[in-house]
Symmetry: D2
Subunit: 172 residues, 4 copies
């Protein structure tokens, strides 16, 4: 190793740097059992356009609320431990070395630590300016745009027929 | 004029081509008095990324419902006649040769034909994949994305604090 | 007219406001005969995402260099005078009330004032973060991104086969 | 594991699925020593908006040509083995469990397997519609857009002053 400078060293997080990173305990705003310790590796090196997180989920916790992104892609690589993955109505056991990826707007999913060890994963996802998320078990939709989050119950969403022939959003 | 070919003639709409274009009568889905005859010049030449419309609004009609776009820009150039423009709480008389432009997410506006002649305008606007519109007099918000339109009453929108430290939409 | 305030009056340019606007004389960097007086109506009201310009082209001048945008759409509405429009190999006379619109990446075009009066047009176009333009008569391509402009001769562009199976730009 | 269906099983690649995936041997078009075995985990599950690859680099091989992305972010997580990472003028030894991330347009980098074991990494990156890459050691720039790749020598790029006051790319 040579020439370590502050300028370029900041792009590298060694395994021990990651170990030493203080994580953030995050509870999902819609699921009090979804508690994870989150280390944002991407943010730590100055990335802003993708999210790259190392998350630790303790036994009997969910990683998140069952959800689907309409626009953003998201994926998970299991680093340690095992868990129960739910995709729509199906469940799978996932363990170290498994990869799970979600194209946008296809299937809702969640991950539960049903083991007695900590489950550690890399979670990567797009950070689009606009996304819409669905929480099917809560009958809620979240509109995210430019850092704002707006949550609506499905039953309160109307789907007007704005007018025939309209292209995209230019009904002024 | 020389060498007219089907290949390139289609990008040109002469004044008489425009006169001959069949317009579409459009009533705004939230305002039964907002009725206009709409000729989409942009669509007619194959444009898809911007809306460019020649609209005719008869006396005592609104051009649209009072609204604001959170993401798209929109502007109007008055070709014939005159009308009453409302921008937020203010009203202005607009007439032939006037231009009105709206940066995104600044002010709500509407245009009413308070004259006894047809008001004719060019209306141009962005066609973003995602936009959000506000109808302040109706207490409604419209989420437009990929050709879909979802309308929600303001009182049914929750603004959760998702979690501190979150960047954009990567709360998985 | 009532309640004129500085806050909302700025979105309106009356015909006399436009008349009084100081234009900018612009010569195209690749065509010394392409000289126009340019009043950016959009910029004047604070728009930034679309360009909306009123341009005046004197007799025997071109409005621009013959060109095509690969990503941005552009259109023209003739307000006064007449001119000779070239689209690829074809020429047309255009006059007051005519509209010409260009979907992205279809045809190159230019506009020449072959009359003895000033030609006045509205020119509207997208302002994408990334665009690529072609100047076929100059054998040049312009890469525009984030306010930067980079011009390359066609003969200096290589088109490597990067590798089979690659999706988009993720060859790291 | 229960209820395995074709519908949802396809989003999961177990460690043994990944082992069984046929990789693609890729040689960088500008560096004959940059040879890797590439398994695109993201593509395998139907993702298209991000690239997620497991790459294997044999001893004495580079993973890629020294480069920087002007618009896309990219990051690497080391799964097995070790290597020599170059960031601009600096070199670092990286090994299992290390993470390296590159915000757009900051530093050029490359990774060389200077060990005698296979180096295995996860490489993740954005797949933007438009990107520009620099190969500083080759004095070359690559313009990628919509699946196309155009490569130009630095010395053949002109930087014209198009005109003062221009906003973005609307010089028509």
């Amino acid at each position: 190793m040579s020439n370590i400078t502050d300028n370029t060293r900041k792009y590298l997080l060694t395994a021990s740097d990651i170990e030493a990173l203080e994580g953030q305990e995050i509870t999902h705003f819609l699921n009090p059992n979804a508690i994870r310790l989150n280390k944002s590796l991407g943010d730590a090196v100055g990335m802003s356009q993708m999210g790259v997180h190392m998350i630790a989920v303790e036994p009997d916790r969910d990683s998140t609320e069952f959800h689907k992104h309409q626009y953003e892609e998201e994926c998970i690589y299991i680093l340690e431990g095992s868990g129960e993955l739910t995709i729509e109505q199906d469940t799978y056991t996932v363990t170290k070395g498994d990869f799970i990826g979600f194209p946008a707007n296809e299937v809702a999913h969640s991950l539960f630590n049903n083991s007695n060890e900590t489950l550690v994963c890399l979670v990567m996802g797009q950070r689009l300016k606009h996304d819409i998320g669905d929480y099917p078990n809560q009958n809620k939709r979240i509109y995210r745009h430019n850092g704002k989050a707006e949550v609506v119950e499905y039953e309160n969403i109307a789907y007007p027929k704005t007018h025939a022939g309209r292209k995209e959003s230019d009904e002024k």
